[in-house]
Symmetry: D2
Subunit: 349 residues, 4 copies
């Protein structure tokens, strides 16, 4: 890290800064410019508290140089992580298709959808059992009765299942019935939940928080990785901005940056990233063209009967159109993915 | 709510919308403008799912008219809620001073701070036992050993205590030892935690999420209120914006808007709202002048030894200066608070 | 528009609102819900001042229903606008490639680049003569000497040229030498400049302001259209958000929304939308997959010698790679564009 | 500046970076950490182009150390700048009150307002002649006929006048009739306008752009200062965020940061910073408590008849209440201002 020194620092304060660093195992590297004096700190800085150093008298600011994440970094793990869920590979050459309702609502509903996915050769079924909702007066998820409907319809059609956990106790309840635990955007920094998930052996689909920076997102992955679970799948689902014409702003820029900086797969959630079923198709294609390892969309047989997220759910006809359009683009995208993959590996090794 | 109809809607789609509303207990009020046709829905709209209606063919968009919160609204509860914590009144005429370390670090540290607060006549002691941290490699809070240090130092100096709960199980652990449960910004939408806190009989200090809208913030309060706990204290602690010179942007505008729309008290957290100890004083004064019911600041005897948030913690000298400046302004602010309070009550009754 | 009435309105204030609307040519449509009373105003609302109505005693808020733009709307102009620049069609089936340096720096530099574009079959040359720079101490553009270098190199290679105007007097200076006037993001709401450009007969490339909403962006186009110039090309170049890993956040969502709501072409500027040459290629492909009518990139023979924007400029090798990747995707994208185009027209007519 | 080197840099690329810096007059200071190698560049960095250096092969990123502004910096000009406008001192101990209509609308209107200001002892009259409006269909300002109404009413009541210039030609038109040129938020980066204003001898009221960072704001001031005009008054008028309950978010944090970093006065515009007349008073007081050198509010005898900004204009009764509340706080604020002023000077000298 770089410590920028205040112009009018007293000599004893300056000496104290150097002593402070040395005592904590850092090596001090001084440098004096025309306007500013700086101290470079050499050593493992992930365990030093920057905010404490910034509080030393005479320090103007502290600038980190090293990324705060390590296990998630491509530097220490050059090859792509490929997460294998019952034979479906996330992070490989073929992008995966994950679809299903925002919420499991009834036995009939989830079986209808599972059948549709199976027909259309989608790879993974999603379905919410526990739902975080802004209002206490709206549908809060079907809860436990829905678990078996979800699990059995998925098993019947041979589809792996992803569902959200909202708190630690949900892990046990869902463990035997689903294949991927999803962490929702609101829980991206629920660190105790992340640690508990890091101790399981199932893949974790980690959604980016609505206003998470890159390093906050990666550090949340790091919480899971640090507990020993290497099967983390990132998910970009839109960020909150001033923009008024979509529910969120899809930050497509993050996809190639994730690919460069980390080895983890990243998928997209165009349903939340737009909040509008009428633009889900072009935005899905955009994400895939930018290098996403798959997409997850909300699908409902009759969105206007949905208990939640009706306006961003595709009906079966719209879902078919999305897949048709994706099929037009798919071969070209795969050609590009092969090429990019080689470049990344070459750059790393 | 108002349903804006698409220009080229088919007759059967239009009839379906009206039927859909009527069947769900809404009364339909049609209106045709030069460019747009709209349908006003009359009835209790908090239980209707707007996103489902927006998914009906022919609907362009749905605009809510009624605020989503009810128990938090001043409309249904005109008088200010005053939360009494062992004799300290939050939401009354006198603003409260809450101070203490980001984290309890040692027995010595918390006793030093409690003594200082007592000397300076601050009202409430804060201290983190469980700490949500972006990085798994940094200090995660002292955990259970610190609870007794915090509780005993507070009892000795006769100070009520506030501390953060990160998950449901923390409630029981802290229940006997603290007076106010704090919900951190990252947990503002941890709805299961909110419900569990709503079932307790202790005051809840609810921090605004880093990118929470007004109605999301109030709806999180509503989760607690709906479970029967009326002692909710709101806290503005800065929002995330593009701004680069402070850690967060202090949204002072929310203070008078909270006062107008709700009956709940609102305090400010200038430490997080700025992230810079050098501007905490003017920002605290700004919040109080805007009508805040108190402030909570991070104080540490030696911020450069703090395990977390050192750069936004005040040392004892800075804390004294803050209180001195506040004392200069206090009488005038109290005069204004008395006047505003009367106006609000007159407007309400 | 919808006028939401305050709960405790006095009868004479309510009557005044109705009278106020009627006197200004609006028709009043009253509606009373359980919690709220509203008034729908029927009539041409673009000329009524919403902020004045909101200031009437007893008005809680005013909600617009009709889009504020008219000439830009697809409703009044269902077919795509195709801008023809010396035979290059922007807004047609084939996306256009616009490239060139951030700034024209020397005669040699611009000729080198024009030659490269010609070799690679790019369609249009860009080059800044007048440069808006945040700092008065940095390069402010080569100014008038560069105009002839730009114009002559372009003419030699038969490339149309686009260059930025910063103020009204620049229009005359550049008029004879360039083919498209560019309005930079910082000038998107320089309304006098927009009006002056609306009076010319050349196409206008209008960049979205760094924090422009959809309707602000379209209203700036409307300024140009209202003066009689129908040749407006929109450009998404990234918005300012809290995100730290790119210079701006590329708002790809706007592309399909523009296509639905307006008839104007929209291109993308991945150089500014990312600020990082290392991710320009995937982001360009994302924008094209989402439906953009073309892209504009900064290209420089030696970016580290560039006078501005070096870090987001492609060198010739990177530019070639971008075009190679685009060629992999192009046929599929064109297939999709043909299909989308038909759908839009069918929906409109 | 600090150059962070890529992990896998080739030796010749590394040497080239050092040579590149040396050739341009920089001194190179190398430093190698455990994970990262960095180069410190010592020398005047305001004239080096960071983006070009970032484009050198092997450079990961470039981090500036020195602030980009110089003339605006308190470092080079320790004492407060006090702008004297016909005897009204902006930046001194007493905060100034600037008020008037968004737009001059009629002779009667501006005389009514000037009279009211005079009665209430406000210091400066504001009034828009040329108005930047998002829509070409709304009122664009009264234009030249209003100039004499504004100037004469102001002269009659002995009030200095501030009015906005939208383009260079407006400077001459207004020069003889007003005392302060205002640069609106949309024009904060209209650099040619700033340069032209820098050549005049009148004070410039520079509003912060709606999404301007601190350094962009100061650099725009620097444009004016660099031309020789030292009478720059900064104005915080709210920034654009995700927040939905106010028109803009008032960034009160910027006030003490401006005071620390620069010597220029800063006033606030609570009308635009809130967009709601019902919260202007508490927000004005907040800004003054934070250290603002004055405030500018929109006042109109009948806001519902205003041609623009009616919902954020105060009527005379509300304006009186604002001044009454300010009077309650004023003495305390002045006491604090005197103390802060001394501290700043002591710190500087």
């Amino acid at each position: 890290m770089i410590i920028v020194i205040k112009d009018n620092i007293r000599t004893d304060d300056y000496e104290r800064i150097k002593k402070y660093i040395s005592e904590r195992g850092g090596r001090v590297h001084e440098s004096e410019g025309i306007e500013k004096r700086i101290i470079g700190v050499i050593g493992e800085e992930r365990h030093l508290d920057r905010t404490a150093i910034a509080a030393l008298p005479g320090v103007e600011k502290v600038i980190p140089i090293v990324e705060p994440y390590k296990l998630a970094s491509r530097k220490f793990h050059p090859k792509n992580t490929i997460v294998n869920v019952k034979g479906v590979k996330i992070g490989g050459i073929d992008p995966v298709v994950i679809a299903g309702p925002c919420s499991v609502e009834s036995e009939k509903q989830i079986w209808e959808i599972a059948e549709e996915l199976s027909k259309k050769k989608a790879h993974i079924l999603r379905g919410g059992i526990f739902k975080p909702r802004s209002s206490p007066y709206t549908f809060q998820g079907i809860g436990e009765p829905g678990i078996m409907w979800l699990a059995e319809s998925a098993r019947h059609y041979n589809l792996p299942v992803v569902s959200e956990v909202m708190e630690i106790s949900d892990i046990d309840v869902l463990y035997d019935h689903i294949d991927i635990f999803q962490v929702g955007a609101r829980n991206m920094q629920n660190f105790k939940l992340l640690k508990a998930l890091g101790k399981t052996d199932k893949p974790i689909l980690l959604k980016r928080g609505i206003s998470a920076t890159f390093s906050e997102f990666l550090m949340s992955a790091e919480y899971i990785l640090a507990e020993g679970n290497e099967k983390v799948i990132l998910c970009e689902r839109g960020i909150r901005t001033f923009v008024e014409f979509t529910r969120n702003t899809f930050d497509v820029n993050i996809i190639p940056v994730v690919k460069k900086s980390t080895h983890l797969p990243i998928i997209i959630d165009p349903s939340h990233a737009t909040g509008r079923s009428d633009i889900i198709t072009p935005i899905t294609l955009a994400g895939l063209a930018a290098g996403a390892d798959g997409f997850m969309v909300e699908v409902h047989p009759r969105p206007f009967e949905a208990f939640s997220d009706g306006n961003q759910s595709l009906n079966f006809e719209q879902f078919t159109q999305l897949l048709d359009d994706w099929n037009v683009l798919k071969d070209a995208v795969i050609t590009l993915r092969k090429k990019t993959n080689e470049e990344v590996l070459t750059a790393c090794i």
